[in-house]
Amino acid sequence: MTPIVRSLLVAPILAAFLLVGVILSTGPAGAVTIEKILSPGGITAWLVRDHSNPIISMRFSFRGGAGLDPKNRIGLANMAASLLDEGAGDLDSQAFQQQLEDLVIRLRFRAGRDSLTGRLVTLAANRDTAFTMLSMALTQPRFDAEPVERIRGQLLAEIRQDTEQPGAIAGRTLFKTLFPSHPYGRPTDGLEDDVAAITQADLKAFTAERLAKDNLIIGVVGDIKAETLATLLDSTFGGLPAKAKSWALPEAIPQGAGRTIVVKKPVPQSSIVYAEKGLKRKHPDFYAAYVMNYVFGGGGFTSRLYEAIREKRGLAYSVYSGLHPLDKAGLIFGAAGTANANVGETLRLLRQEWARMAKDGMNEKELADAKTYLTGSYPLRFTSSGSIAAMLVGIQRDNLGIEYMDRRNSLIEAVSLEDVNRTAKNLLQADKLTVVVVGAPKGVKSSE
């Protein structure tokens, strides 16, 4: 597919009485037009209007996530996210949930390491109720004893069950090893004792300090007019405090380079995860790393790791690598699952491919194929309103600019063979890889 690059179309329009500032930007093949909405109360959202289906999808994100959980309250952001839709204003948990279900309003919050995100999906016909309920959830959550204890019980059960799930153990152990003294090393789901101790006061403090207008990012897609959204932005988010409590998360340098950690569990298949220092989103070589990773371990049924470990030898069902840029650290990571007897061979192949890409890089053909995939598949992300709304939030979050969708494919195109191979050499250091194996691997032991 020919790369689609559209020039930026900027058409600022001021709708006088509503003060809706509109900046237009078109996405791939003119598929979408982004309008930047500024509400009378000063709240910004990016909107893609789509009247083909009477639904509205909104995603939003508050900067600052589980990484900011206070000492002895690890899991607070996650627990708060689970409780925001469990009763607000004059509706208790059951009344709130029942109204959501009866009107088929999908409202959900989630805590990540760097942000608390939410989504609201509703039929256009129930728009006003949906936005009112979101407003209540954000500004008047009740945190009644019943839902607090119920959700606490569910979260503790998940934490306990995760202590026996190989994939969950592997991920947790990896992050703890990479970031032993940084908040990124703590599980976002929380620690059992901390979750058990979280109080209603903690939850109220969380919403008061962390959900504010100055750390809020909003993306909306669907059957709604710009003016209507502008009004709803104020009625929904206007009640939030102007500023979130100030925070500073330190830079995180991954530790544990070159370590292998085996966690013994009596399971037939070992879960393997691996990572090393990668790049943050703003790094000039990020796109080179992105293209490199696609060829190395990111690309569906065609990557080098897939080829070497699954296709040629049948050692795994799932094997991949990916970039994981956080606010304060960058990682390149991956995972595989293989029978206990094959862990040694799988790790040997993994390291061999890691070293081969670093040493020899890729060739022009691989680079060209990667580019046609990455640019050609970009329009595929525009096939559902939720996916578009998520991109609107992501682009704002990373400060990529409203014209990013027009530029994105040219950024991929601009990556040269020299760029990818230099980046591969810098990033992929097989001997620095941190590896965690959970299972009963044969012949593989923890390093000192």
Binding site: E146, P266, Q269, Y320, T383
Partner: protein, 454 residues
């Protein structure tokens, strides 16, 4: 079962549960004229469905085969899914893996999946590349070439898939055993991925025989959703799929289920279990098997009884009695054979299985004696019907729903008229369905328990 996304890490029970939810109405139909597809049939019997969606110049191209694990022969469990994997191994004109490489180079994404009743392959790609993929998909419908080495290597992959989905997960192991206990004779008793010892014994010869028997135009359905019209698609469909010689379709002969009269219980104690759970499945009719007149009523019943946080089971067990951490019910009407009506609950720490089970039984008795209220019914209908509008939002929603329905043996109208049929369900029909289906002698109760080590 799928050929797999690298990031897929869900357990089999989750997959199973998602599939059931899908069937119960999350993706499945709703609203008059849900997807408004165009349909036509090629001269060799292959059916074609077109769903227009012009948001972006992209299409999802799917080919569905009316064959799944329930159509496998004795001792060949897993062969339908194994063939699905092997379909990526090359043809007379394409080397192993070439299909995927060409697709990727063209900016496309792909996968495939197998269920008890069907197998499907799909690519999502820019519409100007559609013809290329129609040619390639048509090619592998008849020209598959396998080697002994390719078959043996892929067996390793499938066994790893089985380990990650099932063997590594006590809940999934129990689920597999419960299904085998529920169906005494119907082939749904076999896991879609297959029993490990039978996967190991599958041969190139048996796979090719299965392929030749089932992968024929009259047993295939082409579904294309996206920036396309039937008028534009038809000549391409004729050219690539229409050129495949017709073959009489293989009959889907499956053993049937005998009358069931004994309640069964299945217990798994495993040290890996940190959160016990309780479950019950009842053998139930589907839209195509057994007392089919109850199917729509059962869909609504599952929604009222256990479809969310304000459902009966969740409210009574979790919120009011505070005995459980979670509770719900599920049912899928879109099975070719007998379906199941399921109920589950996870006890809070310190609550015994007996106490939990007694409370569930109490709720079931209340339901069978008193039925549901008109208000509960009205609310459930509205919830279920609204899901149709959401289903239209993505390219894959319509393609998957219609493809699955036709591959099972339902008609386009069964999908398009689903909202009306749900709307027509009465309180009396729900009572009749509950009485007919929730019978102890046709149930399996399961206990997932912690085994104390040492």
């Amino acid at each position: 079962m799928t050929k797999g996304f690298p990031s897929m890490k869900r357990g089999f029970l989750t997959i199973l549960f998602a599939a059931v939810l899908t069937a119960a109405g999350i993706f499945f139909p709703a609203q008059a004229g849900v997807f408004n597809p165009d349909t036509f049939t090629l001269s060799n019997g292959m059916r074609v469905v077109v769903i227009e969606n012009h948001r972006v110049p992209v299409v999802t191209h799917m080919v569905w085969y009316g064959v799944g694990s329930a159509d496998e022969g004795q001792g060949e469990s897993g062969i339908a899914h194994f063939l699905e994997h092997l379909m990526f191994k090359g043809t007379k004109i394409r080397a192993p893996g070439e299909f995927s490489k060409i697709l990727a180079r063209n900016g496309g994404q792909e996968n495939a999946f197998t269920s008890s009743d069907y197998t499907a392959y799909f690519q999502t790609v820019a519409v100007d590349r559609l013809e290329l993929f129609m040619e390639m998909e048509a090619d592998r419908m008849t020209n598959l070439v396998l080697t002994e080495k390719g078959v043996e290597t892929e067996k390793g992959v499938v066994l790893e898939e089985r380990r990650s989905r099932t063997d590594n997960n006590p809940g999934a192991i129990l689920g597999e055993q419960v299904t085998a206990a529920l169906y005494l004779n119907y082939p749904y008793r076999r896991p879609v991925i297959g029993w490990a010892h039978e996967i190991k014994a599958l041969s190139l010869k048996s796979v090719m025989a299965f392929y030749k028997k089932w992968y024929t135009p009259a047993n295939a359905i082409l579904v294309v959703a996206g920036d396309i019209t039937a008028a534009k698609l038809k000549p391409l469909a004729e050219k690539y799929y229409g050129a495949i010689p017709a073959q009489p379709p293989a009959p889907r002969l499956r053993p049937t289920e005998p009358p069931q009269s004994a309640k069964r219980t299945v217990t798994l104690k495993d040290a890996r279990v940190r959160q016990p759970s309780w479950g019950r499945v009842y053998l139930a009719p589907s839209l195509l098997s057994g007392e089919t007149q109850h199917a729509y009523a059962l869909e609504v019943l599952a929604n009222i009884l256990g479809g969310g946080s304000s459902s009966r089971l969740f409210r009574t067990l979790v919120v009011e009695a505070k005995l459980a951490l979670s509770a719900g019910a599920y049912y899928g009407a879109d099975d070719r054979g007998p379906s199941r009506f399921g109920i589950y609950a996870s006890p809070k720490p310190g609550v015994s299985m007996e106490t939990l089970e007694a409370k569930v039984e109490e709720e079931l008795a209340k339901l069978i004696d008193g039925g549901v209220t008109a208000s509960e019914l009205a609310r459930a209908k509205k919830r279920m019907q609204s899901t149709a509008i959401f289903a239209r939002d993505s390219l894959s929603g319509g393609a998957r729903t219609l493809g699955a329905a036709l591959a099972i043996g339902l008609k386009v109208d069964d999908v398009e008229a689903w909202p009306e049929r749900i709307g027509a369900v009465t309180v009396e029909q729900i009572s009749a369905a509950a009485k007919a289906v929730l019978k102890e002698g046709r149930s399996v109760t399961s206990y997932l328990l912690t085994k104390k080590t040492g």
